[in-house]
Amino acid sequence: MLKGRSLLRRNFAFFKLAIVSQLEYRLNFFVDAVMQPLLGTGVEVLLWLGIFQTSGPTFGGFSMQDYLAYVIWSPFISRITSTWLYEYKMIAEIDNGSINGLLVRPMSFFEYYLSQFLGYKFFTTSVSLVIPVGFILYFRLPTDFSRLPIVLVSIFYFLILVQMMSFTIATFAFYLNKVYSLTAAKNFLLWFLTGELLPLDIVPEPYRSWIIGLPFCNAVYLPVGYLTGRLSKEIFLRGFITTTYGILFFAVAGIILWKQGLKKYVGTGA
C-alpha cells in the first residue's frame, strides 16, 4: 500500500515537473499550446476550402462541412498523439551517457518519462482544446460534444502506446550511434497511418481496411471520425482493443531491447 502511494506521489512529481518545464519559456509554451494548433488548423482549413472551390459540393462522398470538421479536429488531436520532444530526450540520455544519473535513482527510466510525457500532454491539451472547440462552434460544423470525454480517454490511452513506441526506439541508442532519424521515420509513417495526412475515407480499398486494422488510426482517424459522426461507436470502441494489442507488442519489444541494451551499455564519463 505504502509502495503504491509512493509510486503515485513520485509520478505525480514527474507529471508536475513537465508542466513547470513547459512554463519556463512562456513564449515557447504559448506558441506550442496556442499558435501552433491555431495556425495548423488555419492552414488545413484554407487547403480544403481551396479544394472544394474547384471540386464541387462533395468530395469522396462527404460535404465541405464534414471535411472542415475533420481538418479542424485532426491537427489538434495529432499534436497530442505525436511526439518528438520526449523521444529525443530519451535517446539523448542514452546517447550522451546522462542516463547513468537516472539508472541509480529508485525509479524506472520508463515511468520517469511516461509521467512527464503525460503531464506535458495533459497541460498543453487543456490549454489548446479551446481552439478546435471555438472553430467548430463558430462555423457550426458537425461535432457531437457528448462524445468528447470518451474520445479524450481513448487519446490518452493511445499515449501509452506512443510512449511505448518512443521507449522502444530510444533503446536502439544502446546498439547504434545516432538513432534520432528513427524518430523521424516513425513519425512520417504515422503521418500516413493515423489519417493525419488525409482522411482515411478517401483512401482506396483495400488499403483503407488494412490501415484501420492497425492500432495507429486510433491516433487521429477513429477519434476524429467518431467525434464528427463519420464513424459508429462499434468501430471506435474496437480501437481500444487494437491499441491494447499495440501496447502489448511494443511493451514486449521494448523490455527485451532495454534488458539486452543495459547489458551492452557501458556508462562512462557522464
Binding site: E24, Y25, L27, N28, F29, V31, D32, M35, Q36, L39, G40, G42, V43, L46, L47, L49, G50, I51, Q53, T54, S55, G56, F59, G60, L176, N177, K178, V179, Y180, S181, L182, A184, A185, F188, L189, W191, F192, L197, L198, I202, V203, P204
Partner: protein
C-alpha cells in the same frame, strides 16, 4: 568583389567536405534519413494522387501539371535541406547553450557562418530522387516548351533565397527569446502553405504568400514559368522579392546581434 566571393566559395567548399565526412561516419543514420525523406516525398505524392481520384483539377492545374509542380517542390526542398535547413534547425539550441559565440568570433561574415557551417549531405539522395521525379513528370506533361527550363536557372535560386531569408528571420528571433524552438513551427506552417499549388487559394492569400511570406516563390513561380503563359513581370518580381528579403534578413540579423548576450559559455 570576385576575390571575396572566391574566398567564401572556398570556405563553403571546406564546410561541405567536412559535413560529408561527418555524415559518412554514421552510415546507418544517413540511410535512415534517406528513407525518411523518401517517406516524406511519398506522402506528398500519395496525398495528391488520392485527391485526384476524386477531382480532375486542383486550382487551375490537372494531375500531370501538379506532378510537375511536385517535382519542382522536391528539387527546391532538396536544395534547401542540403544547404540551409540543418543550420536553421540547430540555431535556437545553439543560442540556448551559448554555442553560437564560437561562430560569431570567426573572422568572416557572421550570417554566412551561422547559415552555412554545415551541409546535410544525406539530402544529395533527395535531390537525385527529386530530379528523377521531375524528369518523369515532365515526360508525362505532353505539350510544353523545353526552352522554358532556362527560367528555372533563375527562379529556383531566387525561390531558395527568399525561403532562406524568410526562415532566417524566424531563426534570428532566438536571440531575443533564447528558446524559440516552437516559434519555428510558425515558419513550418507557412512552408506548408507553399507546398500546395497556390491557385487553390483565394487571391489575397496568393499575394500574401508572394510578398509577405514568400513561400510561393519556392515551387509555384518556377512551375508557372514552365506550364503557364509567359509572364516576365512575375519572374522579375520574384527575383526582386528574393533580393529584398535577403537584404531585410541581413539588416534584422545585425539589429538582433546588438541584443545578444552569451548564454553560458
Amino acid at each position: 568583389m570576385i576575390e571575396i566571393l572566391a574566398r567564401y566559395g572556398r570556405i563553403y567548399g571546406a564546410f561541405f567536405k567536412t559535413s560529408l565526412v561527418s555524415d559518412l561516419e554514421f552510415r546507418a543514420n544517413m540511410t535512415i534519413r534517406l528513407i525518411v525523406d523518401f517517406l516524406w516525398y511519398s506522402g506528398q505524392v500519395l496525398m495528391f494522387e488520392t485527391l485526384f481520384r476524386h477531382t480532375d483539377h486542383l486550382g487551375t492545374w490537372n494531375l500531370a501539371q501538379v506532378r510537375v509542380f511536385m517535382g519542382l517542390l522536391f528539387v527546391a526542398d532538396g536544395l534547401y535541406m542540403l544547404f540551409f535547413s540543418i543550420n536553421m534547425d540547430s540555431f535556437s539550441e545553439n543560442i540556448r547553450l551559448g554555442q553560437i559565440d564560437f561562430l560569431l568570433v570567426k573572422p568572416i561574415n557572421s550570417q554566412f557562418m551561422v547559415s552555412f557551417k554545415k551541409a546535410d549531405t544525406s539530402k544529395l539522395g533527395n535531390l537525385l530522387m527529386a530530379v528523377a521525379w521531375m524528369i518523369w513528370s515532365l515526360s508525362k506533361l505532353g505539350d510544353w516548351n523545353a526552352n522554358r527550363l532556362f527560367w528555372l536557372i533563375i527562379l529556383i535560386p531566387s525561390g531558395l533565397v527568399s525561403l532562406y531569408a524568410f526562415r532566417f528571420f524566424f531563426v534570428t528571433l532566438a536571440i531575443f527569446f533564447t528558446n524559440s524552438a516552437n516559434v519555428q513551427y510558425i515558419w513550418y506552417q507557412f512552408y506548408h502553405l507553399g507546398m500546395k499549388p497556390d491557385s487553390i487559394y483565394r487571391p489575397w492569400i496568393r499575394v500574401a504568400l508572394f510578398v509577405i511570406a514568400p513561400v510561393s516563390l519556392m515551387a509555384n513561380v518556377p512551375a508557372r514559368a514552365l506550364m503557364d503563359p509567359f509572364n516576365p513581370g512575375l519572374y522579375l518580381a520574384s527575383v526582386l522579392v528574393a533580393a529584398f528579403f535577403l537584404y531585410l534578413s541581413h539588416r534584422f540579423w545585425n539589429f538582433a546581434l546588438k541584443f545578444h548576450s552569451s548564454a553560458s559559455s
